[in-house]
Symmetry: D3
Subunit: 325 residues, 6 copies
């Protein structure tokens, strides 16, 4: 049972358009706050897009997701889960990026995430571009490699870009495998589609035993069947969930830098998250929301809805594992 001090502001007390926008209207707790040790799940912004190879903007993602997340209420419409009453959730603010120094910023992210891990906080990160995931994994997989369930239209498994640049949003999972942060045998990438320069990423995946599910396979087999396989691949070990908003069709999520047409719709986008029940989730992220390409906020609202679905899966599992409630 969560503490009363960790409840979101209700729209009946303060209408949803009012008030300073934190993630899900949760209390804002910084790293020096004495309440930090009581936080079970921390929502963290990673406002950084140094890895973006084409259309920039995800550095503005966390703030817009915070804004639109004020439309999220307390209870899941289907399952009735009330995550904020289940475990203590909080908005832990943003990792301060250094826009002019890529490796410094990666270190800052790793450092804050390491501190949270030590404090027993399960992180749910909001990007930022997909390169953000690498320093997060460096913190979470410091002891042992993690499994990965990855929703995306791209594999992000490329070797390098622009004549040798090793750190872009097209390479994080290649690096993570090379660094031993992820166990290839426990990795699955779902929703892959769109054009490519070559097959170098897929060859790497094949060589490493990483499972790739293209959008065609996803639609042919159905989401439930593929997600059953995903749970099997992830197994019982600690697993990271990484969700790139461009997994979803750009009609639903136009606010992103590298869209690929022909993806899942919003219902399916939520459904795959619901199917994560049973996975041993060590952390999660939602990345690549780029406000300049959707200043209506629709993409950010969809992102907030997905984050809520994540919390509805993670919170009960965490409560159970910690003997909370």
């Amino acid at each position: 049972m969560a503490d009363t001090g960790f409840q979101p502001v209700s729209g009946f007390d303060l209408p949803r358009f009012a008030g300073i926008a934190s993630f899900m209207r949760l209390p804002m707790i910084d790293l020096d706050d004495p309440r930090l040790p009581r936080v079970d799940i921390g929502l963290i912004g990673l406002p950084w897009n140094a890895g973006t190879t084409n259309r920039p903007g995800p550095r503005h993602g966390p703030r817009q997701v915070r804004d639109m997340s004020t439309m999220i209420r307390a209870q899941h419409g289907v399952s009735g889960v009330r995550p904020f009453e289940t475990v203590n959730c909080a908005d832990l603010g943003d990792v301060p990026p250094n826009p002019a120094d890529l490796s410094d910023t990666m270190d800052r992210i790793t450092q804050m995430l390491t501190q949270l891990r030590r404090a027993g906080v399960l992180p749910v990160c909001v990007g930022g571009d997909h390169l953000c995931t690498l320093p997060v994994l460096r913190a979470l997989a410091a002891d042992a490699p993690l499994g990965l369930i990855h929703f995306d239209s791209h594999t992000d498994l490329f070797h390098s870009y622009f004549g040798g640049s090793m750190y872009t949003h097209g390479t994080p999972f290649r690096r993570a495998v090379e660094e031993g942060l992820l166990d290839p045998a426990r990795m699955i990438q779902i929703g892959i589609r769109g054009t490519a320069y070559d097959s170098e990423d897929r060859e790497f995946a094949a060589a490493q035993g990483i499972r790739i599910v293209t959008i065609e396979e996803l639609f042919d087999r159905g989401l439930k069947d593929v997600m059953a396989e995903a749970r099997l691949i992830a197994g019982t070990g600690s697993t990271y969930v990484s969700y790139d908003i461009d997994f979803i069709d750009p009609a639903y999520a136009p606010g992103t830098g590298t869209p690929e047409v022909g993806g899942p719709n919003a219902f399916q986008a939520l459904q795959v998250v619901r199917e994560l029940v049973g996975v041993n989730i060590a952390g999660a992220d939602l990345v690549e929301v780029s406000p300049p390409f959707d200043n209506s906020g629709g993409t950010a609202f969809l992102a907030a809805s997905i984050l809520f679905e994540m919390l509805c899966v993670i919170a009960p599992a965490l409560a159970a594992s910690r003997g909370v409630d």
Copy 2:
């Protein structure tokens, strides 16, 4: 057979971008017009949003729907129905709201709708927010409670908001049941989804015997199956059809104040209306189109397309029942 004086202006005579915009390019007839008694179906605007709890705007809905409805032509593409030749349809203008007085405006709506009912006009209303439905029901159910087929992402069955406010767009059907305007046993709500503050609405529905079909059930069973049940629930008695545009996924209908992701697509949005054939429809509405959140007009065009589908169901039934044609 409709009168020739009640035909919409053809795009071949006056291109669709030209001319003053009335609903479907129909003749504009006010309540003092001698032609009023000959009107069978009246399209009425309810430009009012005093019940909106979050993002305002539906007061601008009727005008934008009028504008975009000029792209609608005379004949249904599948069924070949030509509603404007079947019965006399007209644009009866807007109920003049009082933006500063909630109960005064509700009275004005009830009053105009009562007058139309007495004149034998079947009303198809264009909101406005969903609170508009309550005063319409007060007029139409003055003699006996109606059945309800309700498409929405929300139940709008809550007791009150903001510390006791009984009249918001989240409460109209609660009030209507309490006032005896609707027969709970003949009510079905379809498409319900999204987060909630609590289950108070669903408990009320369960206690009253109101049937709620969540989006999950709708997609699992299929629209035709659910609509067959809807027809069964509505039975042969007079039934009101209330269509909240946020029933539809916000990728298709972004112009609304309280979207919930993961809804039906536009094809399905039309399909559920087609499945209303056989229902004894006493009136209908289409609400919650909020132009400030979609000034492209796409949402309003979808609304106009749904309204046309409604007319293609209602007009033949009305003609049959009145022995017209």
Copy 3:
């Protein structure tokens, strides 16, 4: 000299696109915070638009202004004033409105502002529509009527709307004069233009001795000359400054509900504020920013720039009067 704990977050420490958005990136302090008594100037959001007669939206104003105000830095480009180092400034959050109850919300605003007045906090309010100003004045003028310097395209001096509604955004200053909150002889309204239904407001102004400066007079005489007169009219007594964003031409500030073309440009919009030096300001507001009509944020950024100009006038005067520094 301000406390170090009241400094805005620097863009060099946390880039301006990062972090939770408070006004000017100032510390967020609620009414229970022990730091409250040390606050000199409080920025307060009034997310409420129950008085809006045409296009709604200002309830969303405070949050968008917070967001865009993160682009404001620490020091004025011309005068070199550093307001946040001069006195203690803070974001005091929003007054929680009741969207369904007009008089309840006015009471809430008056109550919070009264509490702040007693705590010695000078309020700078961010609307909300212009009706918000009335309950603020009720708090600030509880003891004696205030002078008013009012920038607007409308006088907001009308008697009533829609058949007798006394409280809309077109009536606050009429009410305030009637209630004895403002001293007509110390009132000036600047920038008045646009069409009107009648001259009832101007006749009231003439009868009361309220000075109205039309846009034509403003441009003919020049801003400095008019502002010199404004200072003379306000005199040495306590004066309220009310700034409606529709004072400015809609090319610069499209995000508002009742624009009138032909207003001042952005440079002039700042200049009139600079000319307030010497006025004994008891409180100020900036109202009518309506995000749904400018989701680019340009209007809100202009509003934030005006608010900073206000702070650069108010902070040094306050420091002097309080013997701070």
Copy 4:
């Protein structure tokens, strides 16, 4: 004194966001209406853009101007003129264009305008692109050439386009002079700027004695001085006023197809109209509003404001000349 039957709907009776949108909320009167002979000034839509050489869209202009003109009230803010009480004004609908036949459409325009001229209606036309002006002039100058006061960034005096096409929005005034519809000695073009292919238009103007005032001259001398010259040039004879919205800087009027940067602001855009007092105006138009390039409606609202200024000049003069009131 105007008839009571010709008054616009008041925003106090029917809020401005409500009701079917006619120009200025005036009564809609078609050519068969028995009230036609009582109309003094007719607002007429010309939804046609067959002459557009680059970015299309003005065919949608009249409807958007109608929509935004509902924000115009009854009385001028400066002069106090109440045009709708001075003479009978009405919305006469649109000339039905034939989008596929240029000369047929020009004939239709000329025909309707001829009919109105015979009925004693002074026309104020809303385009459409600038080619619309030619067929209007053919109707109004059937007996004798008119003078012209022309606000624009282009001269529209070119000989032909695209290898010999004589009828585009770049040629109407060349044709009108050639056809003897305009008296070159009584023509003035104001605001000319931007790049050109060559000087062919200016050479024609010079040869004919047409006065061209570039934007540089306009700003150097001031609007009042230039307008005094314009009145002198127009003299006492019948004069047509043609106002291309691209006269105004595109920051104020982005919704147009051929913008030229560096034009007047909105205040100046109104001011030049006010300076037409004393001119013997036989008709007027406002053209080139292109909604697809400004679906916020800001350009159309500025156009509506200019149209109201025109009415405030034309109505009193007309009343005087007709001995009305």
Copy 5:
């Protein structure tokens, strides 16, 4: 095997946001270029919309499609086809239209396409409105009628518009059949939906034996089944593929002038193209992208993705037929 000189610029050498935008970043080759005879597939812009009956804009289509097509890479995600390495592809520029002369422009299109046909270039055209297809067919079917696989929400089989205009975007296929350019027995139209004025088009189709597949049939039977029928109807003879972007639901492709709600999603929009394998394609087009109605570029990016799918079908077939590689 394609020539190295015909490869698109790689995003690794020149990032996708950089460089002058040609279709797919292919070399730009004009008709006088000595490389022309080596071109196998030519991408050609037809920036012309003289046939548009309602909302204009497709004249701007080719440039926006070029811009967004820079996001397309070299290899198909599913099939692995690398069209640019298979045959020589190039951007051949635009046919210069004459916006003021309909038949002159049609002649110019026919003339350029005839020249390309003689040079052995297979054309893939980018409109422009659907009337563009007629002059293309005049060139390609000069010797013998073609088959047609046509994706659209409209049949474009009407006789005439606006009182006799024979050449609009609603008539090209009627004209093409009448002129003997298409073999009705080898024609199929897929996705037809929306309202109509009458059934005149369908009666013509029925009389001629043209197969029409409504959207209902398409969804009921499934895309693969319908496309199998399409291949059967097209047979082994030369067939033209015409793809109107309004085939797709407007949530995915809002940038078009005559949308009809309830169409296929983006995945399905690509899928139907993939199912063209085996058809003897003589040429293809993608029309009705109207940038003013989607300046986000999303519609154009979907169009570019469809064009790439077309190339992935056409290039291997062409290589096989020509014995290339």
Copy 6:
């Protein structure tokens, strides 16, 4: 007299909406083109924004400026200058940036600009963010320091950002002075305004003798007077002109990342360029156009208009100095 091969495509031959978009519709000439030595003025894109500290996007600038520059014609409206007939102008394409490597990209820019300098091409660069100017200056000032006339709302003279980063768009002129590329005594910065973190930049300027003209001084003295001073400061030596689009008020140029309200209007934005006649210009740039913040293209069109004004100043001077024509 320019070569006929260097003329822009005329809108009479190919309408302005048609054709592949190069700068001003000029011929595209790459560095290997044999025509390169005949180029007098080269327009070069610098699609790079690695120095952007807040809202990203200028990497997309060159392409959007190319697109909108197709609306520019051949001849200046006031002066009658026809720059493309005066000297040979061409679009030389973009410097290929490396988005992942800041110093590599700076080297690439310096290298290409050095090559052009040796080929006798005067460069007019289109950014990209303001850091782009530094590597350009490294090429142009390789032999001797240049003078600088700099239009901007920021000085860009800061020492470093984010804890020591020396290369951002806030530091290029500091670096350029330190590297001896600019002669401080011959530098003037015009239009400076907005908030600042501190005065460190101004202190550097004061110490170095760099002249700063704030917006207040600019408006007080008038543009002509300030520009006379600018010409005096620049003297007869080689001078670089750097134009940041945020010099202009954001109502006119919203498409930029770090706007400051209260700047010059579009007319003034052109006027300052016209006043450069007499300056010995060695190169120029126009930077910080950020398409994601203005996808209407209005900002880019203003940028294109400014570039044309630059050409009208540079081309005649160059022709005179080279004895051309």
